[in-house]
């Protein structure tokens, strides 16, 4: 009896000891791996997410050809899966821009990708040059007062001023090195493979990732594609097409057509007027309420307008914006500019560094002319970039960089039919090269298909089944067509009472 008790006691102690020992062991493991690979990982909070998430940094060489040279710290955040018991591969999120910091989008991704996050960790890595990964950000000169300044004032000295503030070897802040960082983080986190989601420029990054490290990737979602064959910056034709569709939708909508019968003509007239000379009006500062001179130039008006074409909610304001501006009321424009004030969300230094070196050199004069031959903003957006690029330090991307990517990784390609920057034709280009891919065009969607619940559900289904051609796309038909704000109070126009004041105003 006593003997048995002893044995029982010993067995009992051993099991407790074992539990403690295993716990101690696993902690030692984390400490060790952090030591050898210079990975650090701890619980933290990120802005806009209530729950605790994981924040980490990984030290990587600034120049991968010199592993012992200068090192930079790559910042990342892991949004943990709600249910991690299923042991699903994580989804790595590649941000857009170029120049968006993935971790700064954490709160949007946290709620937007909720369906995916139910069973998968989401890995957000600040691309080198953004966020807290050796950011390339310019202070004052490029963030002028958005009401008094106009884009046309932007000078090369501003760019030079900006360049002086940037630290690090700019030639190393290229897309390929960014992908090397991403894959180093993947390896440091001990994932054999990951799924990747790229949106906008993130699709370019994703394609580079697929070419460089195909064995690290389980599957890919490319949302609003910028393929390597199409240089970033040629937005003239796609923006014009997106805008024309908006005009057509307004004309097809009985109420919108009635309210804004001459929208296209009003736009042309307004553009011509602003082209001749900028307009300055006195308004109450949108934020301060004090009197402010609000200057509207051609480029300012069109670039603000173009920004509104990216998403369905802002597109609904476009007819009103044009009509009011035509009538001489620029307050809606001021309200829209106020919304984007302060948080551009783009690390402009990195943006120029990549676009000026990887994309702009690939744009021939003929391509430029063809792109500028449109009825919306002509070559405006490209001209602004080209101006900055003329003084930006240059580097030569690697020879492989412009190769088309053709790998067999399961790939889902998404495009929005109304997208002003990455039109469905881009998606077709990518689709043509990728063997195991499927291209879905969302009819009532602008930039980024994952912005709707339907888009997320399709992505989630794809990540689960890995069969790009067998997805249930029916929910896309339920996404409502665009509808427009028809008056300063948002009322539904009623024939008799609405046409009169409109005429009176004219």
């Amino acid at each position: 009896m006593i003997k048995n008790w002893h044995r029982l006691c010993r067995a009992g102690r051993l099991s407790v000891g074992l539990v403690i020992a295993t716990m101690g062991f696993s902690q030692a493991c984390i400490a060790q791996s952090s030591d050898s690979q210079q990975l650090s990982l701890q619980s933290c909070h990120v802005k806009g997410v209530r729950q605790q998430v994981q924040c980490g940094t990984l030290m990587v060489p600034e120049d991968y050809t010199q592993p012992n040279g200068e090192r930079i710290s790559i910042n990342f955040v892991i949004l943990p899966a709600i249910d991690s018991s299923k042991k699903q591969l994580p989804l790595m999120f590649l941000a857009g821009g170029p120049g968006q910091a993935a971790t700064e989008l954490a709160s949007h991704i946290y709620s937007g990708f909720n369906e995916v996050r139910k069973t998968r960790d989401l890995i957000l890595i600040d691309q080198r040059g953004t966020g807290q990964s050796a950011p390339l950000q310019c202070q004052e000169p490029l963030t002028l007062d958005p009401y008094t300044s106009v884009p046309e004032d932007f000078t090369l000295s501003d760019v030079k001023q900006c360049l002086l503030q940037l630290r690090g070897d700019l030639s190393q802040f290229n897309s390929e090195n960014a992908i090397r960082d991403f894959d180093a983080v993947r390896a440091a986190l001990d994932h054999q493979q990951v799924h990747i989601y790229g949106g906008s420029y993130g699709t370019r990054a994703g394609l580079v990732y697929m070419r460089m490290f195909p064995e690290s990737i389980k599957s890919v979602v490319l949302d609003s594609v910028g393929p390597i064959e199409v240089p970033i910056g040629l937005f003239g034709q796609s923006a014009a097409q997106s805008f024309e569709r908006l005009l057509a939708h307004c004309q097809n909508d009985q109420l919108c057509a009635k309210q804004y019968p001459n929208l296209a003509q009003e736009f042309v007239a307004l553009k011509a007027k602003l082209k001749r000379a900028p307009v300055t009006v006195e308004i109450a500062h949108p934020r301060l309420g004090t009197n402010t001179a609000f200057t509207i130039s051609h480029d300012k008006f069109l670039s603000t307008l173009q920004m509104q074409l990216y998403s369905m909610p802002t597109r609904s304001l476009v007819p009103l914006l044009i009509h009011q501006a035509y009538l001489g009321d620029y307050k809606p424009l001021a309200g829209l500019i106020a919304q984007s004030e302060g948080d551009m969300g783009i690390y402009i230094g990195l943006h120029f560094n990549i676009v000026c070196n990887e994309d702009l050199p690939k744009i021939s004069e003929r391509m430029k002319a063809a792109d500028a031959d449109n009825s919306f903003a002509q070559g405006m957006s490209l001209a602004m970039v080209a101006k900055a690029c003329s003084v930006w330090p240059s580097y030569q991307p690697s020879e492989n960089f412009y190769q088309s990517v053709n790998v067999e990784i399961p790939t889902l390609i998404l495009s929005g039919a109304l997208d002003p920057v990455t039109p469905p034709s881009n998606g077709e280009q990518a689709h043509a090269h990728l063997v195991n891919s499927h291209h879905i065009i969302a009819k009532n969607n602008a930039h980024i298909v994952a912005s709707t619940a339907c888009g997320i559900n399709i992505i989630n289904e794809f990540l689960t089944t890995q069969k790009p051609t067998e997805l249930d796309e029916s929910c896309l038909d339920d996404v409502p067509a665009e509808s427009f704000m028809l008056g300063l109070n948002g009322g539904v126009a009623i024939a008799t009472s609405q046409t009169k004041p409109a005429q009176a105003r004219k």
């Binding site: 009896m1 099991s15 407790v16 539990v19 403690i20 295993t22 716990m23 619980s43 909070h45 802005k47 806009g48 209530r50 729950q51 605790q52 998430v53 943990p80 709600i82 249910d83 991690s84 018991s85 909720n114 139910k118 069973t119 308004i283 109450a284 949108p286 934020r287 304001l317 009103l320 914006l321 009011q324 620029y330 307050k331 809606p332 424009l333 001021a334 309200g335 829209l336 106020a338 919304q339 004030e341 409502p480 509808s483 704000m485 008056g487 300063l488 109070n489 948002g490 009322g491 539904v492 126009a493 009623i494 009472s497 609405q498």
Partner: protein, 387 residues
């Protein structure tokens, strides 16, 4: 040694002979997981599913965009109700009245008054009404924001202060509700499952005159008590293991991720829970035996023991209500374990010293009770229930 073994064999045989009593003992372990599962299914459905709601509109034609927005959230017109649900929704009778001058007032920027009419006390209507109210408020607010925006006002002005919340709970503590329920049920199972066996092997045996015969044998009363104790506590332990296993299995049938939660019992959690609960099972069995021997008849034993056993089962509830817990509750039997269980479910590291002390205290109390019981069984008063 031989004697104890023989006694234990006897106790277990007797316990397992009466299948119906055994079923009663295990009923808690079998039913609780089912109950938790059903409760969760209902809760999840309430929280996330958007079943169609049918509203009797009057004046729907005056606000087509609002109606479309409602429809988008599965709030539909009564005209669309399927035949088999018609009676229900007709009875529920949610009415929304849209005034004729909706469009004019909207364009003129005048406040528009909609009337939502329903029985606000009816439980089945609380979710539909909440959904309708939320949607209309959001719709109204979004128009308000746009009105200000197109007047050239920075709409961020409408939110001067933004409160960013940072929750320090560990992500794994998401399924708090389940953990709390399960913690309480485990404690109850530890206490209640051995109860029929304990009463039967004490008061029951006395009534059947088995106890008298047993005490006539040349064995120490301590061995008799130990045999009875191990049998009753073994049943309780089996019941707990069954409950944990079945709950883990049952949770696979509930999609907790829908409410942002997860629940799983891995091997180490399982081991720690058992480590916590086994002493409780022993203590419970000792208490039950003590009070059952104390009672005059089987029937009395049943009622007193049930009553007394309910008291410690409510300790976890009491702890839940207590916001400021004095330090000593960490060390006491039952309260200590239930606090530790809470930590385990929250995914916090186990406080091994607290675990050790509370287990030691529990076992010490059990030993004391066993000793008292063994002493008492030597007295004829107890054996003949004369006290």
């Amino acid at each position: 040694m031989m004697q104890l073994k023989a006694l234990m064999v006897k106790e277990f045989k007797e316990a397992f002979r009466d299948k119906r009593a055994l079923m009663v003992a295990m009923s808690m372990a079998l039913l609780m997981p089912v109950m938790i599962m059903v409760m969760l299914k209902v809760a999840i459905k309430e929280a996330v599913d958007n079943p169609p709601v049918y509203v009797k509109y009057s004046g729907a034609q005056y606000a087509p965009k609002l109606i479309a927005a409602l429809e988008n959230k599965n709030i539909l017109s009564f005209a669309q109700v399927p035949a088999d649900e018609k009676r229900n929704w007709n009875e529920r009778n949610i009415e929304l009245t849209i005034p004729e001058h909706f469009a004019e007032d909207m364009a003129a920027g005048k406040p528009i008054e909609l009337i939502l009419r329903a029985d606000f006390n009816e439980k089945s209507l609380s979710t539909p009404i909440r959904r309708i109210k939320t949607l209309i408020n959001e719709y109204s607010l979004s128009i308000g924001y746009k009105r200000l925006l197109v007047r050239g006002i920075d709409i961020k002005l409408l939110q001067p202060i933004k409160l960013l919340e940072q929750d320090t709970a560990l992500p794994s503590s998401n399924a708090m509700m389940i953990s709390l329920i399960l913690g309480v049920y485990l404690m109850m199972a530890a206490f209640m499952s051995g109860l029929p066996v304990a009463i039967d092997s004490s008061a029951g045996e006395r009534e059947r005159n088995v106890l008298e015969m047993l005490l006539c044998q040349p064995v120490s009363t301590l061995k008799i008590v130990l045999a009875k104790l191990s049998c009753a506590s073994a049943i309780a332990i089996i019941s707990i293991i069954l409950m944990l296993v079945l709950t883990s299995l049952a949770m696979n049938f509930v999609d907790l991720t829908k409410i942002g939660a997860t629940f799983s019992i891995d091997a180490s959690t399982f081991a720690i829970l058992l480590l916590l609960l086994v002493p409780i099972c022993l203590l419970a069995a000792a208490l039950q035996l003590l009070f059952a021997f104390q009672a005059k008849s089987f029937k009395e034993a049943q009622s007193t023991v049930t009553m007394l056993i309910m008291v410690p089962s409510f300790i976890p509830f009491a702890l839940m209500m207590m916001d400021d817990k004095p330090a000593w509750v960490n060390w006491l039997p039952i309260s200590g374990q239930s606090l530790l269980m809470e930590d385990v479910f929250k995914g916090l590291a186990v406080d091994w010293s607290a675990l050790f002390f509370t287990s030691a205290a529990t076992i010490a109390l059990t030993v004391l009770l066993v000793w008292v019981l063994a002493k008492r069984l030597t007295s004829e008063k107890v054996v003949m229930s004369l006290s």
